[in-house]
């Protein structure tokens, strides 16, 4: 139980989860070592987002063990969970900036809520964080005035406001133009190394991830089907990985979702 000596920040062992009757994860094993950037990849509906929410303690697993910073997340009460969450940070898909606050107030939000820092100190800290993502000039804008890529960068600044030990990114590359995408990818890497944090990137953007992460897990139908460093993945002969990395339409992941035979569906409809 004394997991504080463990070199890994996040450890999942044989994790099962289901929404009601619908199985989402069955038996996931995953490790995030300290200081590394780990990507979790998989197609839509493979359970990536669920996995992320489990790590954040927003969902409870059905069985299996899940520890973050040496603490058993599902067993934590609300107070301990909140204490743990102050040490981690999650970047949501579209940034999830608070729409009724300016960029400055958004970044200042975690500091104002959790620290007793004086307003001048917060002012300087916020400008530092915004400078790190290159948006110091946008401090007084409202979120609706930002482009998608800028909003994501502001959210990144807000996520690192309290210097977290663990960063979790939910689809950080979705809906971005290639330039913004590259910027975000670099920022994730840079911030991770500068803060000495560990990062989990949940994504399905293969090419971008292969360039910046240390280790990759492939998730399919609620299971880890492949894992490895970017180099191992590129050279992998596993047909599933090959299909995913090169974006082929048909392969181990079928184009058609399971259904009754085509002829039968067409003819059967005529009979009824």
């Amino acid at each position: 139980m004394n997991a504080s000596v463990s070199p890994s920040l996040v450890e999942l062992r044989d994790l099962h989860f289901a929404y009601g009757q619908r199985d989402v994860l069955h038996g996931v094993n995953l490790t995030v070592p300290r200081g590394k950037v780990v990507a979790i990849m998989g197609g839509s509906g493979s359970g990536k987002t669920t996995l992320m929410r489990l790590i954040g303690g927003q969902l409870l697993p059905r069985s299996g063990s899940l520890s973050v910073c040496g603490q058993d997340v599902p067993a934590l009460g609300r107070k301990d969970l909140y204490a743990l969450r102050r040490r981690m940070s999650m970047l949501f898909q579209f940034g999830a900036l608070f729409t009724d606050m300016s960029v400055f107030d958004n970044v200042a939000f975690p500091m104002r809520e959790h620290t007793e820092l004086s307003e001048p100190v917060i002012h300087d800290l916020v400008l530092m964080k915004l400078h790190a993502v290159g948006l110091r000039g946008a401090a007084s804008l409202m979120p609706r005035e930002l482009s998608g890529g800028m909003a994501r960068r502001v959210a990144l600044a807000r996520a690192v406001a309290l210097d977290p030990e663990l960063m979790i990114y939910d689809e950080p590359f979705t809906g971005l133009d290639p330039i913004s995408l590259g910027v975000i990818g670099q920022l994730i890497r840079r911030l991770n190394d500068a803060l000495g944090a560990s990062s989990i990137v949940v994504t399905h953007d293969v090419q971008e991830s292969l360039q910046m992460v240390d280790y990759i897990y492939f998730l399919s139908a609620g299971k880890v089907v492949a894992e490895g460093t970017p180099d191992e993945i590129r050279t992998s002969t596993d047909p599933w990985v090959h299909q995913f990395v090169w974006g082929e339409a048909d392969g181990p992941v079928p184009f058609q979702i399971p259904a009754e035979p085509y002829e039968q569906a067409l003819l059967g409809a005529g009979d009824a």
């Binding site: 954040g56 927003q58 909140y82 204490a83 969450r85 102050r86 981690m88 940070s89 999650m90 949501f92 898909q93 579209f94 999830a96 900036l97 608070f98 729409t99 009724d100 939000f109 975690p110 809520e113 959790h114």
Partner: protein
């Protein structure tokens, strides 16, 4: 045939069970909001912003509607009373109908459609864009930080709005009855004062408006927090807030009236 009947019965049963389940969730949510209200009282600025949102932004609609309702009351009341030669009771009629019933009820209905729907839409949108989840992940409880201030903002605004509505209505009745038509000003006010009792009428009216304020704010924050996190879900929740609050106001009004003025 039998199939259709059983299907129908099953549909009714499912709806009823669903309704009771939702009521249970709403009740638990209400307790959670109350238990987590500390932040909104300690950091009153949060609640102040919501009073602005729910109260100040409803001022225009409340004042204008109050004035018009009072003017109509003055006109109709005068027409009716003058037939039995008791037009000096116009002030009583206008004041009592506003203070006891129309003030709290109409102000409550307007409040539900102006502020209640806006609260639901705001919270629903925050949920749909994952702002609530983000807050939760930042170890800030969204019920304490987002929901409770909006609830209290609504609860505190509603009695003031209802009082403004009644006052404006009485002024409107005075404008039409006394200034325009020319009923006697002295008896308008003196009869009103003689017949309107502070405890019996005005205090009970205020109690009504407080109850309506709690009901509307509760429904609004619950529908917002509970909505399906999509654009369609938010719009449906907004509609539900207006419909449910209006029904709740009218139903509660009957219950409260029979408790207050029944015996």
């Amino acid at each position: 045939m039998l199939d259709a009947v059983s299907c129908f019965l099953r549909a009714i049963g499912a709806r009823l069970i669903n309704a009771i389940l939702r009521l249970g969730f709403a009740a638990r949510f209400f307790c959670m909001v109350l238990a987590l209200s500390g932040t909104s009282l300690k950091r009153f600025r949060l609640t102040l912003r919501e009073i602005h949102f729910a109260g100040v932004l409803s001022l225009v609609i409340i004042v204008v509607s109050g004035l018009f309702v009072g003017m109509v009351l003055g006109l109709q009341g005068y027409e009716t009373l003058v037939r039995s030669g008791s037009e000096e009771a116009l002030g009583v009629l206008v004041a009592l109908s506003l203070v006891r019933e129309l003030g709290p009820v109409v102000a409550g209905l307007l409040f539900a459609s102006r502020a209640g729907s806006a609260i639901t839409a705001e919270i629903g949108l925050m949920k749909a864009t994952e702002q609530l989840d983000a807050m939760d992940m930042m170890a800030v409880n969204p019920i304490a930080r987002v929901v409770a201030p909006r609830f209290w903002g609504g609860v505190l605004s509603m009695p003031l709005l209802a009082a403004l509505f009644s006052a404006m209505g009485i002024f409107g009745g005075y404008l039409v009855g006394v200034v325009l038509i020319g009923a006697d000003e002295g008896s308008f006010w003196s009869q009103m004062q003689a017949s309107v009792d502070f405890q019996e009428d005005i205090l009970n009216g205020v109690i009504k408006s407080v109850v309506f304020g709690v009901a509307v704010s509760w429904i609004a924050v619950f529908e917002g927090y509970d909505c399906e996190p999509t654009a369609e879900g938010v719009s449906r929740a907004t509609t539900r807030t207006v419909v449910t609050s209006s029904l709740a106001i009218l139903g509660l009004d009957f219950v409260l009236t029979s408790l207050m003025f029944g015996s």
